[in-house]
Symmetry: C2
């Protein structure tokens, strides 16, 4: 199938909201996008790659889910700074076999994510993957806006702060395990697959927390609680104690208990894309138990020192090693 | 070889200039970068992918050249808007075999490009390519700064404007042809390989032209003059006439004349990354013949109508089809 780049760009424009935003002086179709800045605001910027064989399996993951998730996971980093998602750039390398229906499905999923997340397409770059090696490679750059100085970093946690997470932990990992075992066509496990395919990004809650100045540190849960909390602690120069009986673990139905232990999935499972944040003691009362349809759970506290410990039966606490996802470790 | 993501990020930081820029409120190591905006300035933004088997051949192209070019070609879009390059984000997916010496070489080349182009690393994302399919995939996002309203678009060319290009055309394509024929180890052809491996980006000239308001439209030459000029004309709603005897074609030495015709390489060869721009008649006298070490050549004029024509012997002009590089065309 032969398709011209200009025609491809038109197809993308038609499917993904890319109407002139007042934030864009120059949008799609020129060499680069030009951003206006609103007075008193700053831009927040992140990029993510989403690559066939690494982040998704083209034979298994529906193209719609690929497009949705590629954009959602990049936007999660914007939400975790407390910023409002505004614009994105899309880079694609596509083998010829993926420029037809697969591409339409992928763009459809991405358009849905863009609408939910409040994003407008501002530009990008396309290339054909010509070699035998070439799978689909998506590069997503997302821009958010935030009032100057309000962005929430990972490094602000202080001893005495409370540690919170949103949502249930481990559901996305359970969905991935179903995919890896070829069990993803069973309709009764749909909600775990949905957690894996279409993660909900906490864009409203992130902004709400940042605007009110309630949080001392925040990040998104992408690689698993044990790994992400240890990163937050290292960035802040502190340690933390998790309450072992308070972790909001996914409930595993009977038929799936052989797949994994709920506690292990909750502590080490990746890609939940909830928010992990710390709150100074004086502000804890202002954190609701649920908001924007999402449960918010206090799971521990920040302590002096370093590393993450978790309390167990009998009041004893033990070290919790970061055993979440690390792309560059060969064992987990 | 096992390597932790955090350690990898430290290796990148050590090699690529990423010291706190005053433009960055938050840089590497958090979920996203936060940009300050200088008063009266706008951000210019572009992303590019650079993928093994598509944009480079890992067995042929030196890792140093891969890193250099990945950053240089993305920055070329910033130069073509007339903006000053400032910050970049780097996304990488790497097979395990490329996390050692290859990575160091690649980062070395990228660091050199960053220094030359005035860029500081502001963040990024790393992943391991785990599948058999996985080659190296680099995603580069570059940000430039420009005074509000000064960015030069593709769409401003008007009938009567003069058309200019910088540099010699076709040298990078000649270098690529040498690579494809396995002739890239012959030292005497070094300058063509250098044009292909280490393209010079016209960041100073682009800014100079934009600051003085001399140009009505500008873009970079990435896919070949015939294709890029036809895009500029379409964006501007005009046509153009090229002076067939004024095209600054690469001079092909005797031993290489079987590889390609100089005129064809100059008209259709890609990746020269010079600037293509149009100048209203009243400003033509202010365009020097050379600047910042680069030749500047008037090669044609903008006319009413559409399409690109080229004058030939006997004063007759013929249609010039866009036959440069299009990633989504199967034939050239």
């Amino acid at each position: 199938m032969t398709i011209r780049e200009d025609i491809l760009i038109e197809r993308i424009r038609k499917r993904i909201p890319s109407s002139r935003s007042k934030l864009l002086r120059v949008g799609i179709g020129d060499d680069a996008a030009v951003l206006r800045t609103s007075p008193g605001m700053e831009w927040v910027l992140t990029c993510d790659q989403f690559i066939e064989g690494v982040h998704f399996l083209a034979g298994v993951h529906p193209p719609n889910a690929v497009g949705y998730k590629a954009l959602a996971r990049a936007t999660s980093d914007i939400a975790a700074m407390g910023a409002r998602p505004r614009l994105f750039l899309l880079g694609m390398a596509l083998p010829a076999a993926r420029t037809g229906r697969w591409l339409d499905g992928m763009l459809g999923g991405m358009a849905r994510a863009a609408k939910q997340l409040g994003l407008t397409l501002a530009g990008g770059d396309t290339a054909r993957a010509t070699s035998a090696k070439g799978g689909v490679a998506l590069g997503v750059t997302v821009l958010g806006e935030i009032r100057s100085g309000q962005a929430v970093r990972r490094s602000g946690a202080r001893p005495g702060d409370a540690v919170f997470v949103t949502g249930q932990l481990g559901a996305a990992q359970l969905g991935l395990e179903l995919v890896l075992r070829g069990m993803h066509r069973q309709a009764r496990w749909h909600r775990f697959l949905a957690a894996h395919y279409y993660p909900k990004i906490q864009v409203e809650l992130g902004q709400w927390l940042a605007r009110r100045g309630l949080v001392s540190a925040m990040m998104d849960l992408s690689d698993g609680l044990s790994t992400d909390l240890s990163r937050l602690c290292r960035a802040s120069g502190v340690g933390s104690l998790l309450y072992g009986d308070k972790i909001p673990a996914v409930l595993i139905p009977k038929g799936l208990q052989k797949i994994g232990d709920a506690r292990q999935l909750a502590l080490h499972g990746g890609e939940d894309y909830g928010l992990l944040f710390t709150v100074p003691e004086r502000s804890v009362v202002r954190i609701p138990r649920a908001m924007y349809g999402t449960r918010i759970t206090r799971i521990g506290e920040i302590v002096a020192g370093r590393g993450v410990r978790i309390s167990g039966a009998g009041g004893r606490a033990s070290k919790l090693a970061p055993r979440g996802w690390d792309h560059f470790k060969t064992t987990r």
